[in-house]
């Protein structure tokens, strides 16, 4: 092994630094999945009857469905009865009303993750909803947001306080019949964030949810619903980590975004679930359904994701461009190392006139990993003047990994212009040598080049996330050039 390769391998083997477990007493739903468990979750949340019916109907449908097999990911069959569908830190009395009542162990946990929840310590301008296993433990800056009419709270709370909004929009983008994992989520989702930005309001701060899986043998099924009313704007960030365990844990989330006339939603994710160890043991199965509906004219939904974690990633944040002149964007960095498998991409469905979409995907494969971009651009007959530009680049670091590009491009309108470009290459020896000859050491040179490769996507992230993501990209990638 060359000296370069060695340095890189060292870096690649850097330990997952969020792998600790918080020792906290939890209460669980009975193990396994049944109507009783669905009822248990609904009861825990004090949900209205219609919500329970919705869950039960999803559960019954789920029983008839089979797991999707088309993605390029391989894993042993999942025993859906061998997991807990609800786990919550045991409350001292009831759900905490203020930070003072939150278990200090939890606050410590988030502090350790770099997400201090006490408002005075927080990054200014970011409001956080912290979801720990199945429940939201605290939401910060709620009062400040309420002043401008922004609702930002756990979805369980929204179901109680704003049932009319939840009922109107829940399942309107990702129906409970959508796919195996989304349907499962509809039956058992336990918490997640709810955001409503009223007409004409530009949300005064970044909103953020931080997801943490802690308990063993537990699946996380959160549900996020964001509605930007006419002329509203919101930027939303999502982060995720989990302890290091030998078992595979399932995370099957659903995110629904609705943008009405002239509204804009920017949704950023830094996904750093535990990826498993270097031998492929453990790690999260990240099977997520994310979809945005540009329901109004001139609306815009922009997805940015940095996917570095999880043993398996299966997610396709998509945009339905229904309103005339609406815009969908997807910016993605997906990194797969060791035995990780990533099958991710997007769908851009052009329904309205003069709708535009842009897809920039950067895939990086290292170790024995398989990384697939899978995307669909579909222009319907009535989408006159639609435009799409897609750029998919893959970088291979090492000779045992794979990079795959599977775009589906369907046009049914002659005035639509669709352009797609893709490249696959390895990191350039010439570039590396050039940097090294200028005195930059190998690991830094790789970080530099790889960050350059991802630049277009990193630029899309809000400042608070960009720095963290850049470091993460550096660490995950540098270690693997052979």
């Amino acid at each position: 092994m060359s000296q370069e390769a060695e340095t890189l391998q060292e870096l690649a083997d850097q330990k997952y630094k969020y792998g600790f477990v918080t020792d906290i007493e939890s209460e669980f739903a009975p193990k396994g999945l049944s109507e009783e468990v669905v009822r248990y979750i609904s009861k825990k949340k004090n949900e209205p009857d219609w919500m329970l019916d919705w869950r039960l109907s999803a559960y019954r449908r789920w029983l008839t469905m089979t797991e999707p097999k088309w993605a390029r990911v391989h894993y042993p069959p999942i025993d859906f009865q061998d997991a807990y569908y609800y786990a919550a830190p045991k409350p001292k009395d009831d759900t905490p009303k203020s930070l003072d009542e939150v278990d200090p162990e939890l606050l410590k946990t988030y502090e350790k993750l770099g997400i201090p929840l006490t408002e005075q310590k927080m990054l200014s301008g970011v409001a956080v909803d912290a979801v720990f296993d199945s429940v939201s433990v605290v939401t910060t800056f709620k009062a400040k947001l309420e002043e401008v009419g922004v609702i930002f709270c756990p979805i369980s709370e929204a179901l109680v306080k704003h049932p009319e909004l939840v009922r109107k929009y829940l399942g309107s983008v990702v129906p409970d019949t959508d796919n195996f994992y989304a349907t499962l989520n509809s039956a058992v989702f336990s918490d997640g964030s709810f955001v409503y930005i009223p007409e004409g309001v530009r949300c005064p701060m970044e909103l953020s949810t931080y997801f943490r899986i802690n308990a063993s043998k537990t699946g996380q099924f959160e549900r996020t619903l964001i509605i930007a009313d006419k002329g509203a704007y919101v930027s939303y960030l999502e982060g995720c980590t989990a302890p290091q365990r030998d078992e595979n844990q399932l995370h099957a989330a659903v995110v629904e975004l609705v943008a009405l006339d002239n509204a804009e939603i920017k949704y950023s994710t830094v996904q750093n679930w535990y990826p498993g160890d270097e031998n492929g043991r453990g790690g999260i199965y990240n099977f997520v359904t994310k979809r945005g509906d540009c329901r109004g004219v001139n609306s815009k939904i922009s997805w940015t994701q940095v996917e570095t974690g999880s043993a398996i990633t299966w997610k396709y944040p998509s945009c339905v461009l229904r309103g005339d002149n609406s815009v969908g964007e997807f910016y993605s960095i997906a990194i797969a190392n060791h035995y990780q498998q990533a099958d991710t991409g997007t769908k851009m469905i052009h329904l309205g006139r003069n709708t535009k979409s842009r897809i920039i995907s950067k895939g990086i494969s290292a170790g024995l990993a398989q990384n697939t971009y899978r995307g669909l651009v579909r222009v319907h007959q009535k989408a006159a003047g639609a435009r799409n530009f897609t750029q998919c680049d893959s970088l291979l670091l090492g000779s045992k990994c794979g990079a795959h590009t599977v775009p589906y491009i369907e046009s049914r309108n002659p005035t639509a212009i669709l352009e797609h470009e893709a490249t696959t290459s390895k990191i350039s020896d010439d570039q590396l040598f050039y940097c090294i000859s200028r005195g930059i050491d190998t690991e830094e040179a790789v970080a530099l080049i790889v960050n350059g490769f991802c630049r277009e996507v990193l630029q899309q992230l809000p400042m608070e996330f960009a720095v963290e993501a850049q470091k993460l990209v550096g660490i995950s990638l540098e270690g693997s050039v052979g």
């Binding site: 795959h404 590009t405 491009i409 049914r412 893709a422 490249t423 390895k426």
Partner: protein, 428 residues
């Protein structure tokens, strides 16, 4: 009213075929029949057939075929004439180049070609190949010995006409092209008329340094249902150069499944397709790079008019040890009508790291700025549109090395444009 294709009849026919008394062939047919019985005809549920529903096309009774357009002539070529899928030996000049009718080879228990037929870049789960293997009757085997270069092209002429052509259970043809070390040949397919259901499989074995130029001119009728596959195995420093012209049909598909097995093998495919109202045209390629330093280049250009559907699925697969692969792929489509539909799936599957692979794809209408520019120079809109379409396709045609064949392709394009003038010109 004509009958429709029946799976049961096909299977019955297959069972009869595999008791022909030629052991190597019976075994080959039996395996193919068993696999086909399991899969049936491909439907859209099969990923590779997502955009082309053969089962559905065959379930419809074929309508009138319309006026047949004459098959192109290839001056100076040796001809193999297939009338409604049956070789007309009297009208063919096979002996001059050592081509042997397939029937003769299939009847020979000791044929040296047994090790090739059904074994070139095999695809076990390909329903259509299995169907063809189980039922193939006509075709030919062309064996070009080492170092020999065929002086004139082989013209494979497929004419379909009359009641015979419409057989719903199909005619299943197999062409086996074996080029030994350093051998060179040009093979030109020309299709005309409307087969009720035809499958055609080309098996191409290129020994080291062999060179094959393979041109396909598909000028099928509106009722034609044809699915063709070219299987290829390319050994060291061999070269396959394909040019595919197609006007589509009720159902028309061609798959090029090539394995670049050894170092420095090279494949180049240029395709142009012009698809008129009510037609379907599918170009599918899977180029598997297995050897080091292999290269491939694909460029497809399509024009879709009326209520038509075009499909391009191009997969470049680079296997683990195929270092220094250079693979490029391009698909461009012009949609001339708001009822036309294009589905493109350019796919990269890369398992080696030292590679250069790229694909690009565009779909859209004619460049309005170029159209305006031409009109300001006094060229009427309809002519300007035709000129731009010809220019768009011309870059593909320019890749044909032989001048007469290049002219032939250009002629077919002009012909199509003239025939479809009203579909091309935008009504003011």
């Amino acid at each position: 009213m004509s009958e429709i294709t029946s799976l049961n009849r096909l299977l019955d026919r297959m069972a009869g075929f595999e008791r022909g008394g030629v052991p190597w062939l019976d075994a080959l047919r039996e395996e193919a029949r068993t696999l086909f019985a399991g899969s049936g005809l491909p439907t859209r549920r099969v990923e590779a057939w997502k955009y082309s529903d053969l089962a559905r096309a065959l379930a419809k009774a074929a309508e009138g075929s319309g006026p047949a357009r004459p098959a192109p002539e290839i001056p100076g070529a040796h001809v193999a004439l297939f009338e409604n899928g049956i070789l007309n030996e009297g009208q063919s000049t096979l002996a001059a180049i050592g081509a042997i009718p397939l029937r003769q080879v299939l009847a020979d228990p000791a044929t040296p070609f047994a090790k090739r037929i059904g074994h070139v870049n095999p695809q076990k789960n390909h329903a259509l190949l299995n169907l063809n293997t189980a039922l193939m009757e006509d075709g030919l085997v062309l064996h070009v010995p080492a170092g020999v270069s065929l002086p004139a092209p082989l013209h494979l002429r497929y004419d379909w006409a009359g009641k015979e052509a419409a057989d719903p259970d199909g005619r299943h043809l197999r062409i086996v092209l074996l080029l030994e070390e350093g051998a060179e040949a040009t093979v030109v397919e020309a299709h005309s008329g409307s087969p009720g259901f035809a499958t055609l499989v080309n098996e191409v074995h290129l020994a080291p340094k062999a060179k094959l130029t393979h041109l396909r001119f598909e000028r099928l009728g509106a009722a034609a249902r044809q699915s063709a596959v070219t299987l290829g195995e390319l050994f060291a420093a061999s070269s396959y150069k394909g040019f595919y012209f197609s006007e589509g049909g009720l159902f028309s598909r061609h798959e090029a499944l090539l394995e670049l097995r050894d170092q420095e093998a090279h494949a180049e495919i240029d395709g142009i397709y012009l698809v008129g109202d009510g037609r379907h045209c599918d170009n599918t390629t899977i180029l598997a790079h297995a050897g080091v330093n292999t290269s491939s280049q694909q460029s497809f250009r399509g024009v879709l008019a009326g209520d038509s559907r075009g499909v391009y699925q191009g997969c470049v697969r680079v296997l683990t040890d195929a270092q220094e692969t250079d693979a490029r792929q391009m698909s461009r489509t012009l949609l001339l009508s708001d009822r036309a539909e294009m589905a493109t799936k350019p796919e990269l599957e890369i398992l080696a790291d030292n590679v250069k692979c790229s694909h690009g794809s565009t779909a859209g209408e004619l460049d309005t700025a170029a159209l305006f520019f031409l009109r300001t120079r006094g060229i009427p809109e309809a002519d300007a549109r035709a000129l731009l379409i010809e220019a768009f396709l011309g870059e593909g045609i320019a890749t044909i090395a032989s001048e007469p064949l290049q002219n032939l392709a250009a002629g077919l394009v002009s012909d199509w444009l003239a025939f479809h003038a009203s579909e091309i010109a935008h009504a003011e």
